[in-house]
Amino acid sequence: MTAVGQMTTSAPTGGTALRAAAGETLLEVEDLAVEFRTPDGTVRAVDGLSYSVRAGETLAIVGESGCGKSVSSLAVMGLLAPTARITKGAARFRGTDLLALRPKEHRRYCGEHVAMVFQDALAALNPVHTVGYQLGEALRARHGVSRGEARRRAVELLDLVKVPNARQRVDEYPHQFSGGMRQRVMIASALAMDPEVLIADEPTTALDVTVQAQVLRLLAEIQAERTMALVLITHDMGVVAGVADDVTVMYAGRAVEQAPVREIFAAPAHPYTRALLRSVPSLATRGAAAGAGARADAKAAGGRLDVIPGRPPSPGQVPSGCPFHPRCEVAQDVCRTDPPPLAAIPAEALTTAAPRAAACHFALDVLGGARG
């Protein structure tokens, strides 16, 4: 985790509350499974997901639409729909398993310690309250801060996320903001109580590319400044390259590959990761610090976008064996019958000390470039 070490030593330590020491594991999700009751029976949307994220680091969770990224985050926040059930697993914040708490206790960690930024800020913000009200709401309701003080803090938060004219805009309503500014408000709202962990669920998907880059840069800045742990959910590998330290690639509710960002870009160990990397449009123009291997791959594909054929399975119809096998270009017979476990890649196959894991029968071959 060399990149991380550099980042945290150069970052100024947050001045206000007692911050976690950089590198301390703040959020640890272990073997999480979430099921939904549907008219067609019970379906498993998240199946045995584990990840952890440390103070001052960013974990990117990547995968196509419907692979369970949002559901797993909502489970951590205790915000799942009533039809959902967490069937197993833990989500530990500094050692406390949030999922084992009573809902009321769990709720207390939300916002205060673990906060979430939602994808569609227009829908996620309340249209009938001013931005200022929504930014100061939790401070007032939970910390008993006065109206005037809450307003002052709201202005500060808007300044923090670089909304111009904060003093005036604090009294406006969400629909009066542009998409990018609204997403900044959403981020400010999540930061209101100075959480140690921020889960950002596709915070830039609804925005156009230039605004995306600005918002991502802002998130990275704030994260470094506050030594926050950031879980960045995205379906865009291009986003990952610029900001993440570690990557978890999800497919059909499971983690299929987990590795530091440099390693995964240099040499993916799972065919799905490799396919995702090929589908990234012009990594170079995004200024991404991508590994040379990925660029070579993109070139090999003739510079075109190489979309993965087929669609990801819905949770009710996960294929037997390896869930990716119908779309995998290197699938073998064994893939159709035996599900590959998420297994650590032996140290001798790795170029750095950082551990990696992949759920593929042929991970070593893929990693070594022997397949595909």
Partner: protein, 334 residues
């Protein structure tokens, strides 16, 4: 906001003018087809030609246009508008000022209305919220069943059953148990008593409110369910706010927008209900006055009362619209 109110007020004046004009056309054609309403003044007596002419002159019916079928009678209409502008809403056949009649009748209607509105607001908000909160549970099913059941009994059926089946035995029982001047005895009186106005409008008002609340319960439930499903509610929860706070500031507050719209619609419905209720329960109110005026062919009184009711309705609509805009900033800033 100021410009919004101004715009709505101007629209309202236009609407009002249209209502009054249509009313004028309808009554004019009725007079032209049915014959001289001045005759109603004399009841069963047969008046002389000069007597009829005098009465016609007094009620503004002497214009020859009233004898020509199809003539819109714009002259008398303009005269009447000029009268309205000076607060003169005409007189009834007995020469009593319409405004005076309304002044004595309106307070009783308002009392009935207050009971009706409080009943259905409380019932609707409370039961609707409960149903939404416990969606799919027995409480929800029970409340929805009840609301359908209420709908199956139109207000006049409720009133008939109450008045002719329950009211007499109940009031007799109350009189013999608590004394004839006791509150329960007043409550269950089968007809209106001006000395105990509140007591005698209470039960009819509750029934009318109950009948109106059925649709309102379903509306509150539906709009709150929509709010519950809203992503902003999830955001509010993600901030760690108490469920009670989320409910109040993000569910109920947001669902108040459609609810206020419904209040406006239900108001007009309750007005119609009040006419029936007052007629059936002999309550001396606006509805009762109108009921009598129509039966007695008292055209002047009908026009005056309907115009005043139209003004009240339009004013309520403006108030509702302004409340709507106050509650939903997206409308205010359009």
């Amino acid at each position: 906001m100021g410009r919004y109110i101004l715009r709505r007020s101007l629209q309202a004046v236009g609407t009002l003018f249209l209502v009054v004009f249509v009313l004028h056309l309808l009554t004019t054609f009725a007079i032209q087809l049915n014959g001289n309403p001045a005759l109603a003044f004399f009841g069963d007596r047969v008046p002389s030609a000069s007597q009829v002419a005098a009465v016609e002159a007094r009620f503004g019916l002497d214009d020859p246009c009233f004898d020509q079928v199809g003539n819109p009678c714009l002259g008398p209409f303009a005269e009447r508008l000029a009268g309205y502008a000076q607060g003169d809403f005409g007189t009834n056949l007995r020469g009593r000022e319409v405004t005076d009649i309304v002044a004595t009748a309106a307070p009783n209607t308002l009392k009935l209305f207050a009971v009706v509105t409080v009943t259905w607001l409380v019932m609707g908000m409370f039961l609707g919220s409960m149903a939404a909160r416990w969606r799919g549970r027995p409480a929800d099913h029970g409340i929805r069943m009840t609301s359908v059941l209420i709908d199956a009994f139109p207000i006049f059926v409720l009133l008939l059953v109450y008045r002719y089946v329950f009211s007499v035995p109940l009031s007799e029982w109350a009189r013999s148990t608590f004394g004839s001047d006791s509150l329960p005895a007043q409550l269950f009186r089968p007809s209106f008593d001006a000395d105990h106005a509140w007591a005698s409008v209470l039960v009819p008002g509750l029934l009318l409110g109950l009948a109106g609340s059925a649709a309102f319960i379903r509306l509150v439930r539906a709009s709150q369910l929509e709010s519950y499903a809203g992503e902003h509610v999830r955001t509010a929860r993600s901030k760690g706010l108490h469920e009670r706070h989320v409910l109040l500031h993000h569910v109920v507050r947001n669902s108040s927008v459609p609810v206020v719209t419904a209040v406006g619609l239900t108001f007009t419905e309750a007005l119609a209900g009040a006419v029936i209720t007052e007629g059936m329960m002999n309550i001396y109110g606006m509805g009762g006055v109108l009921w009598e005026a129509v039966r007695g062919s008292d055209i002047g009184l009908v026009i005056g009362v309907v115009t005043i009711l139209a003004i009240v309705t339009v004013v309520v609509m403006i108030v509702v619209d302004v409340a709507y805009a106050a509650l939903d900033p997206r409308i205010r800033y359009e």
